[in-house]
Every structure is written in structure tokens, then in C-alpha cells.
Amino acid sequence: MEVDYSGDIMTLNMGPQHPSTHGVLRLVLKTDGEIVADAVPHIGYLHRCFEKHVEDVDYAGVVPFTDRMDYCAAMNMEQGYVLAVEKLMGIEVNDRVRYLRIIMAELSRIASHLIAAGTYGNDIGSFTPFLWCFRDREKILDFFEETCGARLLYNYHWVGGLMHDIKPGMEQKIVEFVDYFEPQVDNLNRLLSDNYIFIQRTANVGIMSPETAISYGVTGPNLRGSGVQFDVRKDEPYLGYEELEFEVQVGKGEHGPVGSCWDRYMVRIREVKESCKIIRQAVARLTPGDVREKVPKRIKPPAGEVYMRTEAPRGELGYYIVSDGSLKPYRLKVKSPCFTVMSAFREVSRGAMIADIISILGSFDIVLGEIDR
């Protein structure tokens, strides 16, 4: 879009305290009236020295810290770390643990995408979807609470297994929830996704071409929203995702160019349904077993390094661990999906209007806890 910036430029400091920056993000906008000439994100307000801190914590003690990165999908955060340590130590877990991990990860993905969709509705000015989404998310959090006692930060995945088995009869409840939940997605579509105003606000806004997305290393729903078929669960399966049937949803550009805000939003909505499919299959495959493998009490991986990537709700989450053979990681580096998409923000938002900035930011679905760590 060609814009004439000849008018007076006003600097608008959006954030770090602002209702729509999804945390403590600060955007410095150069505005010409309602048009934004440049939007520079400033991150780091939530930096908690995660990577340095965990160098002084033993391997099992790192798990609660990983929870606090992406607090909207803590299950997926700890799963990635635990899988990385297990890969380093060469631990194989049994089928029950595998499928329980998949169930928990997918439930967590649904909960996380519900936050994304709900807050996105809120960003566009519709408050009702937000509460509808949170109503259903509550039910998922209830499952987590029944299983491990926590509703937000779980510490549920342990190296070599899980903290607890699920309660007897919970498989049935989860399937009932999925049966209840799938029609709710259609309700949400009727209220928000197919709303004319919503489409007008998002469909031609914030176009991220596949080339841009790939060159910035964008992953997850944001990449798939640009029409690139890439999902770690499919392309580099872990935990046995290869045995389960599901489709990788990509943005199709029904309303305008591919890679718009609407596409990114819709990919999440469709993924929620795919997650429901995965949960059904995983519950059907649950076999009795012990949820804790025999692992030494003091986790002491051999010297070496490992990179493990998993598909978190916000994209590809990578853990790179260097072990020197001691009880604590020598170095731990996280490849954060939100950080990479944030780097593309400036390019995607160029020439947008103030209202579009909010809709682009919301469609990226960032969590500042994970960007800043």
C-alpha cells in the first residue's frame, strides 16, 4: 500500500500498559492521522533470565520454570522440555504416558486457541466471544485441576513420565467434553468468524506472504495462515503423532489474499477441531500402564547436546540443551515461536491504520512471557 506520509507525524507510545498489547509489549507508532507509518515493537519488559536461571537448577527443577514461559499453554511448554531431556538420556516412555501426553497437549492447545480467538474478538470490538471462549476453557482447566491440582502452571510432565495418572473415569469425561465442545466452535463461527464486520476488519489486513513468513522463520498457525503446510506434529512426528489421523490446516484466503489476519485466526479455529479429532483417537488408544518409567532419582544426562522441537499452540517450540554430564544443564536455549513472529510485525504492519495494528497484533497471538522469557 502506497501512503503519503507528508503530513505531520505524531509518535504514539502504545504500551507497555495498554489493553490490547496482550501483556507488557510496547509499540512505538509513528502515526499520520489514523495511518501508521512505522510500528516498532520494544520487548523485554517481562524478562526473567529464564535461560541463565535454569543453569543453576537441576533437570527436574527446570519444568516449573518452563511453565511460566507461555502461561496460556503451559502443558506444551513443559512437554517440549521433558521430551528434550528424555531424548538426551535415551528414555523411552510407555504407550499410556505417550497418549496421556498427547491428550493433555491437545487439550492445552484448545485452551490456548480459545484464548487467542476470544481475545481477538475483543480486539476487534466484540466482547461476547471472549466470554464464550473462556466458558469452554474453564472446562479444560477443570480437567487439569482434577489431574494435577493446578489450573494454570501444572508441573505435570516429568522426565520419564507424568506426575499422576488421570482420575478413573476421566477418559469418558474428556470425550463428553469434546462432544459438547465441537458444536460450540460452530456457534463461535456464527457469532464471530463469519460476521461481515469481522471479515471486513480482518480479511484484507496484515497480509503476510508465504515468502515473508518463511524468511522471518515464522512458525505455527501464523505460518500456516500464510498457506504454508508445515506442522512439526506431521513433518517431524514425536510422541506417536504419526499414528493419529489429523489434517494440517492452512489459510485458504476465502475472503481476500492468503495470509491475512482472518486466515491466521481461522487456522486456529480449524485446528481446534483437529485437536478434538486427535483427542478422540488418543483416548480410544489409552491402555493401562504405569505413568512413571524407571528413571534414576537424580537425573543426570550424559554429556552432549540435544535439540528437540515440538508443535506448541503458537508454533514450533525448540529446546536446545547442552549437558556437561552434571546434575544441571550447562546451557539451555529456547527457540520461541512468538519471538520470531514478533520480528515480522514491523514489516507486516507497515502502512496499516491504528485499528489494524491491533488486529494484526491480535492475529499473531503472542504471549509476552514466552518472548521475553
Binding site: M10, L12, N13, H18, P19, S20, E34, G121, N122, D123, I124, G125, S126, F127, T128, L131, W132, R135, L191, L192, N195, I197, F198, Q200, R201, M353, I354, A355, D356, I357, I358
Partner: protein
């Protein structure tokens, strides 16, 4: 007002008071009555809005304060707002900042003078009633710009600029659709407009004349924009502009903005009731004798307010350019056609 003046005559030695007082007392009394009724109405509307939004969103809304369905919640909130410290930030233009909420409220309040709530329940019957409403209600734009400018806050400035652009442009289709009614009646007086719709449902302009039915829809949409309701609530777009022009306000001054917003909502609903839905008349023989006019009027206005709330809690918000597009390229041409149509119907 005449009836109030007559009532006052009954007070012993009222005639002995100076002329000026005899002139002022009825005015002040009717203002106080209108203000009290308005405050009551707004309290009820805020409670209603909370309940409506809550049920749309699968929650219960206020349930505790006052006992029955939290009826006293807004009362408690209003009390809290009035008792709060009146914060005036250091860098604001103090005079304008303090005045702005009252000017915004004045614009809404002054229009109530000509609203006919019942056959004899009105303050005054101006012969240019509807024109007066259109004119005086645009006064609030000045207050909004004052608030935005005086706040010395960029978000406030954006909010007030959006509000000015929006309210002024949407006044045109709103006024044009009002004109369609005026053409059919041949009078600007609110009372005469209602009198013209007496007798039968078929006399209500919304049913009587297809052009005026469309004019009603245009007026309803334009009035939503005039009172900054979703999908046109850009001036206070929370997700973009924090709280728009009332970002810096708190306590009583914020309460006045709030009061003005709901007073405006009620005003546009009342105008629509008067112009299109037959005002206080109810053409059902027995019921119209039992139910007093103001109750019928309120019921019709509240129905429209309920629709406003229903839309607010289901629709997202438009963007600035889309908002202006809807006004100038969709509503304006249609309302011109409607005026032609209504004029043709009137002289036919």
C-alpha cells in the same frame, strides 16, 4: 411546564413573589423533575445493559447488591463514583477539562425539554421541536472535543477527533430521515407528529409509509453512530484507544460522561419512538385508557434500547474508513431517495 405553573399557583401568596421568581420557579422545577427522571432511567438502563450483556455472554450479571437480581448495583456504583476523589491531572487545561463533561451532558439533557412523554406530560411544545433536538444534541460534540483536547493525552485526542468526525457526519443521514417524517406531517412540532399517528396501528409511520419504514432503519443506524454505540463505538474503542476521550477522567466527571452516554441513548430511542412508533399512543381501545401515556412511551423506547444493547453485545467494531464509507456512500444516498419518496407520497 404549564401544568406545573398551574400547580404552583395553588401555593398561597405565590402571586406575591417577584415576577422574576414567578418566571424562574416553574423552569427550575421542571428541570429538576426531568433530571430526576432521567437519572432514574439511566440507572435502570445501566442495570438492564449489564443484565442483557450478562445473559448474552452466558453469565448472570449483578446478583447480590440490593437482593433481587442486584437491582441496586448501579445505585452503589453511582454512589461510589460521586464519592471518589476528583482527579484533575497536572498537565491538563483545567478550565476546559472541568467544563467538558457538563457540556456533553447538557447537549443530551436540553433535548429532553421537547420530548412528549404523554398527551400532557412534556415540558414545552416548541413549534420547531424536532429541529431543536437535532440542533441541541450536536452540542455534545463540542464537549467531546474539549475533553479530548484538554486532557493532553494522545488517546483522548484520537478519541475526540473520531467522535467529531463520526457524530457530525452521521447527523446528516439522521436529520434527512427525520425530514421524511416531517414532510408527511407538515409540522416540526413533536406533539403534532404524534397526533398525526393516532387512531390505528396503520397510522404509525413505520407501517403507514414504506419510505418512512426505511427512514426508520436509517435513523436507527445513524443514531447508533451518534451515540457511539457498537458497531460504531470507535471514539471509545477500548482495544485501540484505551478509553478514548474519557481516558483521563475519573469520579464524578466520568459519571457525567457516562450519564450523558445513556441519556443520549434514551434520547435517540425516544425520538425514534415519537417519529416512527406513534409516541405515547396505543391504538388498542381498552388498554390505551388504562395504561398512562408515559408508560407506553417508555415501553416503546426501552424496546429500541434493548435492540441497541443486543447489537452492542453481538457485533464487532468498524474501522474509521469503513465507518465514514457507510455514512457517505450508503446511508446518505439512500436517505435522499427516501426524502424524494416520502415527498411524493405526501403530495400524491
Amino acid at each position: 411546564m404549564e401544568s406545573i405553573a398551574k400547580l404552583l399557583q395553588a401555593i398561597p401568596e405565590y402571586d406575591a413573589l417577584p415576577e422574576l421568581l414567578q418566571f424562574l420557579i416553574p423552569i427550575v422545577t421542571s428541570c429538576v423533575i426531568i433530571f430526576a427522571l432521567l437519572a432514574l432511567c439511566v440507572l435502570f438502563m445501566v442495570w438492564l445493559e449489564r443484565k442483557v450483556s450478562a445473559h448474552i455472554q452466558d453469565r448472570l450479571g449483578p446478583m447480590v447488591v440490593g437482593g433481587w437480581h442486584g437491582w441496586a448495583q448501579t445505585l452503589a456504583d453511582a454512589l461510589k463514583l460521586f464519592l471518589k476523589e476528583d482527579i484533575v491531572p497536572a498537565s491538563v487545561d483545567k478550565v476546559l477539562f472541568k467544563m467538558a463533561p457538563f457540556i456533553v451532558f447538557l447537549g443530551a439533557f436540553a433535548a429532553y425539554v421537547v420530548l412528549p412523554f404523554g398527551a400532557s406530560s412534556f415540558v414545552t411544545d416548541l413549534n420547531i421541536g424536532i429541529l431543536y433536538i437535532v440542533a441541541i444534541s450536536s452540542l455534545s460534540v463540542i464537549g467531546i472535543i474539549m475533553a479530548g483536547w484538554a486532557s493532553n493525552n494522545k488517546y483522548s485526542l484520537y478519541g475526540s477527533m473520531r467522535a467529531a468526525a463520526q457524530i457530525i457526519s452521521y447527523e446528516i443521514p439522521a436529520a434527512l430521515s427525520i425530514m421524511a417524517v416531517v414532510i408527511s406531517v407538515g409540522s416540526l412540532s413533536m406533539i403534532e407528529i404524534v397526533e398525526a399517528q393516532k387512531g390505528s396501528f396503520l397510522n404509525w409511520f413505520i407501517i403507514k409509509n414504506p419510505f418512512i419504514f426505511l427512514a426508520f432503519i436509517i435513523y436507527f443506524i445513524a443514531s447508533l453512530a451518534e451515540v457511539n454505540r457498537t458497531p460504531f463505538d470507535l471514539p471509545e474503542a477500548e482495544s485501540e484507544l484505551v478509553a478514548g476521550y474519557h481516558t483521563e477522567y475519573s469520579g464524578m466527571r466520568f459519571a457525567f460522561f457516562f450519564l450523558a452516554e445513556y441519556a443520549n441513548m434514551f434520547l435517540v430511542a425516544s425520538v425514534a419512538t415519537t417519529l416512527f412508533l406513534g409516541g405515547w399512543t396505543l391504538p388498542i381501545p381498552l388498554l390505551s385508557e388504562i395504561i398512562p401515556g408515559p408508560i407506553i412511551f417508555l415501553a416503546k423506547a426501552l424496546l429500541l434500547i434493548f435492540i441497541q444493547m443486543w447489537m452492542r453485545w453481538s457485533l464487532p467494531r468498524l474501522r474509521v474508513d469503513q465507518l465514514i464509507y457507510v455514512n457517505w456512500k450508503v446511508l446518505m444516498p439512500i436517505s435522499f431517495v427516501l426524502i424524494l419518496g416520502a415527498g411524493w407520497m405526501a403530495i400524491r
